[in-house]
């Protein structure tokens, strides 16, 4: 891996250790584009869910998001930069191996992490994610001005308090520069795709699971925004993580 990370990016994260820890690997929670750990996971009930199972949760605000630094050049947001951050964070925390649970962009990044650092990932959950091009038809130089689904997402998240539109635009360009490829899949790492039945960004998830040997769970009646907090979603993920 090229070691050309030149920007010392400060990352904010939560490290939530349960009162009565189970004999299990920690769970690394990776939020989606334009959100942060708090919005994507905490308010959706995940810390309580994991705590109740004795699981430690590690929840970073990814670069460009939340309380972490927000560089504004696209190169700072290539998937490999995020993977470097995450490996660095796991090193810092002394976490040799984790289960990765991503949502949306966080799933894309979890896949990248599992490919680049397979020894650090035991199991992988891709939430709210499918092998479609999220940026299809979108003009990456005038984000939020067009009428594509991603333009709409961009308009919504860039208006959220604490977000930096320039950093998010750079992040979108960095992600778009490395389109998702289903092949190769991370070798030897079991993975689960889980998404709302009405999640248009997760189209093709079932096929991806079938083609690449993963599991797939659909959450009835839910869309991209409201699947992550559903009990069905949380139980599917935790069952996948704790099974022997």
């Amino acid at each position: 891996m090229p070691a050309n990370l030149t920007d010392g990016v400060v990352m904010r994260y939560a490290d939530l250790r349960p009162g009565s820890p189970a004999d299990a690997v920690p769970v690394l929670l990776l939020h989606g584009f334009g959100t942060n750990f708090e919005m994507n996971w905490k308010t959706a009930g995940w810390p309580q869910e994991l705590e109740s199972r004795g699981l430690r949760a590690i929840g970073p605000d990814l670069r460009g998001h939340g309380g972490s630094d927000k560089p504004t050049h696209g190169d700072a947001y290539l998937p490999e930069r995020f993977s470097q951050d995450l490996v660095g964070l796991l090193d810092e925390l002394g976490a040799d191996r984790v289960d990765v649970v991503g949502y949306s962009m966080g799933s894309r990044l979890g896949w990248d992490l599992a490919l680049r650092a397979p020894e650090r990932v035991r199991r992988l959950v891709l939430g709210g994610f499918g092998p479609t091009d999220a940026f299809a038809g979108t003009d990456l130089n005038s984000l939020g001005e067009g009428g594509t689904p991603f333009d709409e997402v961009f308009r919504t998240v860039s208006a959220l308090p604490g977000n930096d539109a320039a950093a998010l635009a750079a992040c979108a360009r960095g992600q778009a520069a490395r389109p998702f490829r289903p092949d190769p899949a991370p070798e030897g790492i079991p993975f689960l795709l889980v998404a709302g039945a009405r999640d248009t960004l997760a189209v093709g998830a079932e096929q991806l699971a079938r083609d690449r040997g993963g599991s797939h769970v659909e959450v009835p009646g839910r869309d991209h925004v409201n699947a992550v907090s559903s009990r069905t979603f949380r139980q599917a993920v935790v069952d996948f993580l704790v099974r022997r």
Binding site: A14, D15, A44, P47, G88, L160, V225, S230
Partner: protein, 113 residues
């Protein structure tokens, strides 16, 4: 032990939101629940969230079903809880206190190889 009932109203969810839609209850009437256990999943125009229980107690009544819209301040659920010793100032629900959690920042340095 003596019990009293407390009705918990939909808390202020911030950002000027005035209402939320019930997606799914995590409990039924009659269930025992501990403080901070998942209570109900609601959706606003911004996101979907889990509201944790503000009390230890027993669920007596749910005031709104799935897909119903609840205004901030309107009754959400009534609990039976162990009666407090001595007089109480009031019996209206309160917003659960923000639990403290470790939040740290770490400077990640480039890999050396």
């Amino acid at each position: 032990m003596a019990e009293e009932t407390i009705t918990f109203t939909l808390p202020d969810l911030g950002e000027g939101l005035v209402e939320a839609t019930v997606l799914e209850w995590e409990v039924e009437a009659g269930d025992d629940i501990a403080r901070n256990d998942p209570l109900v999943e609601v959706e606003t125009t911004k996101s979907a969230v889990i509201i944790p229980s503000p009390h230890d107690g027993r669920v007596v009544e749910l005031h709104a079903g799935p897909d119903e819209v609840v205004r901030v301040g309107a009754p959400l659920v009534t609990f039976a809880v162990a009666a407090a010793e001595g007089p109480r100032a009031g019996i209206v629900g309160t917003v659960p206190e923000e639990e403290s959690r470790p939040r740290r920042r770490v400077r990640l340095t480039p890999p050396s190889e």
